[in-house]
């Protein structure tokens, strides 16, 4: 205090020289001006629990609206019975075997649905576009699922079911799928949703001139033919099994071709679909409003409400800071938000709020490796997998809001099978971890760190800065590895900075989180070259290729199981857990549930107030 006093007094001494003031302040002022920018570079957006398809929540492209964006297939046990998909204190259809959600209870299925009201939700960022051909952002897809209907939906059995398509035929070779489009469906602008409209949609995505990021979702699709006004044939170069999931989620939403013609490049900010809600307004930077489409018919069989939605409107406000969204919820300015695991306790203690938890989510937290020593040594990979104290990570890092997972596939994705994990997985066992290393010729050095041929097991694990649970997890893993004799250092960095490092392979290992609703996640991660360009195993590639091209569901399941077994035996990654999607809502929000892939059924929701 004293020194700054004299500094200022020196500055203001008789000369009262502005130049001297400027020189002094330039240093501090510049620093003060730059500091927030640097801070912004260093801090990715807060992690999202209601995440979309982004591999890391730190890339901030996940929606925090209660309308959980990505849709995934419900897992079944090996005997085929669906696992509980969600727990909801508001009581919607699916029975849940495990504990019901915490927080205040509300009478389940209380009363008759009431029409009216606006459901006020939040987004962590502004979507880039509401044109499914022009965006693959999770935030956008979370909104688009209410504006657009798709050809099929994935049901609790994880199979595609008719939606806008009444039925379909798959050619024997699997490289042609012919859909019959339901008659009578109309877009919000009154034009007909027929075969021509469907063809126009996919032509647009396939067209190189569109530069559509969604094109990759269509796999080996090359062209679409209009067989007759209600029949469309999709032609592939080879069978592409993920196709049904991909077109069922909002990327496959059917847009009105007339609207595209009318709005041109501005279509992305003026979307027209055939879904339960119509686009109303989007004042740039502030938020979005959707209104009920009164002419809506619900063709999906997994909804309670067969007609137009009960809600008059859905409004989205952009709130990047999760603490602020929580404050707004508590204050009554929002009705439902997605919350971080750290916020669970506060929500639980608030009797006005209910917690909605989706446990069989399609998230996967894991440790992955670079293609270099020591990770080229199977023994090391296995030892690391044995050293993951999943229960501590779930309770300590995720506040209990996760399911420990032994399999390299999310709990909520088709193909997840507990018995595979029991048989081939690496349950937490430090003794086994040490033994695996010593059996492979490693011995502890004088510093206690395992070494072989003079090379110490010492490396750095990267964690991205947007996720507190993962940061805690990294510390727990570090401590466990230390006990085994492995020295693991931790580096935290902004995901945007981490990604190029991963892509170049300039890393040892990292802690990552991925989200995807379809078993093709295995190929996205591990099929040569792998998402970090570290994978090149022809055996694995063959297994994954088989899983990706098996259009028959049971054959595909078998292929996935085979691939999972291989991935486990090779300890390609060290799986940790599947973190849950957690939303918090006021008690008057009724009828809220997630479909099989995690899309919130807002057309079923009503507000028990006014």
């Amino acid at each position: 205090m004293g020194s700054s006093d004299s500094t200022i007094e020196t500055l203001t001494s008789a000369t009262l020289s502005r130049r001297r003031v400027l020189k002094f302040v330039a240093g501090t002022g510049l620093a003060a001006a730059i500091a927030p920018l640097i801070a912004a570079c260093g801090n990715s957006a807060s992690t999202s629990s209601s995440s979309g398809s982004s591999s890391s929540s730190a890339s901030a492209s996940s929606t925090k609206s209660g309308a959980s964006s990505l849709i995934k297939s419900t897992p079944v046990t090996s005997s085929g019975t669906p696992l509980n998909t969600f727990t909801n204190s508001g009581g919607s259809a699916t029975p849940s075997a495990s504990a019901t959600s915490t927080g205040s209870s509300q009478a389940s299925a209380s009363g008759q649905p009431v029409k009216g009201g606006t459901l006020r939700l939040s987004l962590i960022e502004e979507p880039d576009s509401l044109d499914p051909a022009k965006t693959i952002e999770a935030t956008a897809s979370g909104i688009m699922q209410y504006i657009y209907d798709s050809l099929v939906f994935i049901g609790p059995d994880r199979l595609p079911h008719p939606w806008l398509a009444e039925k379909w035929d798959i050619s024997p070779s699997g490289d042609q799928i012919t859909f019959t489009i339901r008659s009578g469906a109309k877009f919000h602008d009154g034009t007909d949703l027929d075969g021509a409209a469907v063809k126009a949609n996919f032509d647009r995505i396939l067209n190189p001139a569109t530069a559509s990021p969604a094109k990759a979702q269509l796999g080996s699709l090359t062209s679409v033919d209009l067989v007759d006004p209600a029949t469309v044939r999709f032609n592939f170069t080879s069978p592409y099994a993920p196709f049904f999931t991909n077109i069922s989620i909002s990327y496959g939403g059917i847009v009105s071709p007339s609207a595209v013609t009318k709005y041109g490049s501005a279509y992305g900010h003026n979307p027209v679909g055939s879904g339960p809600f119509m686009f109303k307004s989007w004042p740039a930077g502030q938020g979005l409003t959707l209104v009920r489409y009164d002419g809506y018919q619900q063709f999906r069989t997994d909804y309670q409400n067969t007609g137009p939605a009960y809600l008059d409107q859905i409004s989205y406000k952009i709130i990047s800071e999760s603490a602020t969204a929580q404050a707004a919820l508590e204050q009554g300015e929002l009705d439902l938000i997605g919350i971080d695991v750290q916020q669970v306790k506060e929500i639980e203690s608030n009797s006005n709020l209910q917690m909605l938890v989706w446990k069989t989510a399609d998230n996967m937290d894991f440790v992955e490796y670079a293609n270099k020593w020591p990770f080229t040594d199977l023994a090391v990979r296995q030892a690391i997998a044995y050293s993951i104290d999943r229960n501590s990570i779930v309770s300590g890092g995720f506040n209990g809001q996760a399911t420990a997972n032994l399999l390299p596939i999310p709990v909520g994705v088709a193909g997840w099978d507990e018995s595979l994990g029991t048989q081939y997985g690496y349950a937490y066992d430090l003794t086994k971890a040490k033994k695996t290393l010593t059996d492979a010729g490693y011995a502890p050095g004088s510093d206690g760190i395992m070494a072989k041929d003079g090379k110490r097991l010492s490396f750095t694990m990267i964690v991205y800065s947007g996720s507190d649970p993962l940061k805690t997890a990294s510390q727990i893993i570090q401590a466990s590895l230390k006990q085994v004799g492995i020295d693991c250092k931790i580096t935290i960095m902004d995901f945007g900075a981490e990604l190029p490092i991963l892509n170049k392979g300039n890393f040892d290992c990292d802690l990552m989180r991925w989200t995807w609703p379809d078993p093709v996640i295995l190929s996205l991660l591990f099929k040569s070259p792998g998402w970090t360009h570290q994978h090149s195993d022809p055996n694995l590639d063959k297994l994954l290729e088989a899983a990706d091209s098996a259009l028959d569901p049971s054959k595909r399941l078998d292929a996935i199981h085979t691939a999972l077994k291989y991935l486990l035996q090779q300890a390609v990654i060290a799986p940790i857990c599947t973190d849950w999607i957690v939303d918090a809502a006021w008690n008057y929000v009724k009828g809220y549930s997630w479909d099989a892939l995690g899309g919130a059924r807002l057309a079923d929701v009503w507000l028990a107030k006014h």
Binding site: I34, A60, G285, A323, T324
Partner: protein, 307 residues
């Protein structure tokens, strides 16, 4: 005077050029690529990525991109944002008023609090008032704006319900964010006002004014403060720059939809056109504000004249 103003405004051109070069250099120095980030965690294909890169001109060599960008700027086109798919100028135009309103409101609060507490400290030097205000200044200088903002939200909005949490561009909604920024900024102004006033109060002309029999209030406000204002105004002008950038974080905390909130999102996604546009606009504002401050000197001190 007019010639002086024009000369100062012409200085903007090399400043703009300098900023453009620096921001372009950021692409080289800061790791991260917008298209890579867009496809992270998604099904991607080399063709899809290449097509998008081409659409945003990111496949051209960097010097060529620079030339194209400068050419665009000269024609009033700041490019298209990768994250909003809208023209950058449109994005900035729609959001900049929010940031300016917040910065101005914060500055007003900072000046009012800073002047009052600084003057009181100077006049009642070493008294309890002085000590309280110095502690208050220190607290304000040390407090992270983010934390203070959240604290104020929880106390005044959630607990007391005096203000809304989400009140972008409403009179009630501006109070908390402007106060957060203003309080922190006022700490610096307060310290400076105190020091300047103490200095001026020691001057001969103050003694003369008192000897002439003028009331203490007249002495302090009309004579002492007016002379102390010159370095104070310099600091205030520089503070405005700090407020503009501090607003970035506050905008995120309060969901105040200005360019700051947009910039944070753009930075995370490496949306270069948008970042460039925002930096240009904010820097220009800063230069203009400092010009206004310089011109104010001529008003405050008749000895100063610009040719």
């Amino acid at each position: 005077m007019t010639a002086y103003i024009i000369r100062r405004l012409l200085l903007l051109i090399p400043i703009w050029f300098g900023i453009l070069v620096l921001v372009f250099l950021m692409r080289v120095l800061v790791p991260g690529d917008p298209i890579q980030l867009m496809f992270a965690g998604q099904i991607s294909s080399p063709q899809a990525e290449a097509a998008l890169r081409h659409e945003y001109g990111l496949d051209k060599p960097l010097p060529q991109q620079f030339i194209d960008y400068v050419d665009g700027v000269l024609h009033g086109n700041l490019g298209t944002s990768i994250t909003t798919q809208r023209p950058v100028l449109q994005d900035i135009e729609s959001r900049y008023p929010y940031t300016l309103v917040l910065a101005v409101a914060s500055l007003a609060i900072a000046i009012v609090i800073g002047l009052i507490t600084g003057m009181l400290s100077a006049v009642y030097k070493d008294s309890i008032i002085d000590m309280i205000s110095m502690v208050f200044s220190l607290a304000g200088l040390s407090m992270p704006s983010f934390w203070l903002g959240l604290l104020l939200i929880y106390f005044f909005a959630v607990d007391l319900n005096w203000f809304p949490v989400l009140g972008a561009m409403t009179p009630k909604g501006i109070v908390l964010p402007a106060f957060t920024l203003g309080v922190i900024s006022s700490a610096i102004i307060s310290r400076l006002v105190r020091a300047c006033m103490l200095d001026v109060l020691r001057e001969d002309y103050t003694r003369t004014a008192r000897a002439k029999g003028l009331g203490e209030r007249t002495v302090i406000v009309r004579h002492a403060l007016k002379n102390a204002l010159i370095p104070i105004i310099t600091i205030i002008g520089l503070q405005f720059g700090g407020l503009l950038s501090g607003a970035f974080i506050i905008e995120v905390v309060f969901a105040w939809h200005g360019v700051g909130e947009l910039a944070i999102q753009a930075l995370q996604k490496r949306d270069f056109p948008l970042i460039q546009g925002i930096v240009l606009v904010v820097a220009t504002t800063y230069v203009v504000v400092n010009l206004v401050v310089d011109l104010l000197y001529a008003v405050l001190d008749p000895r100063i004249a610009y040719k």
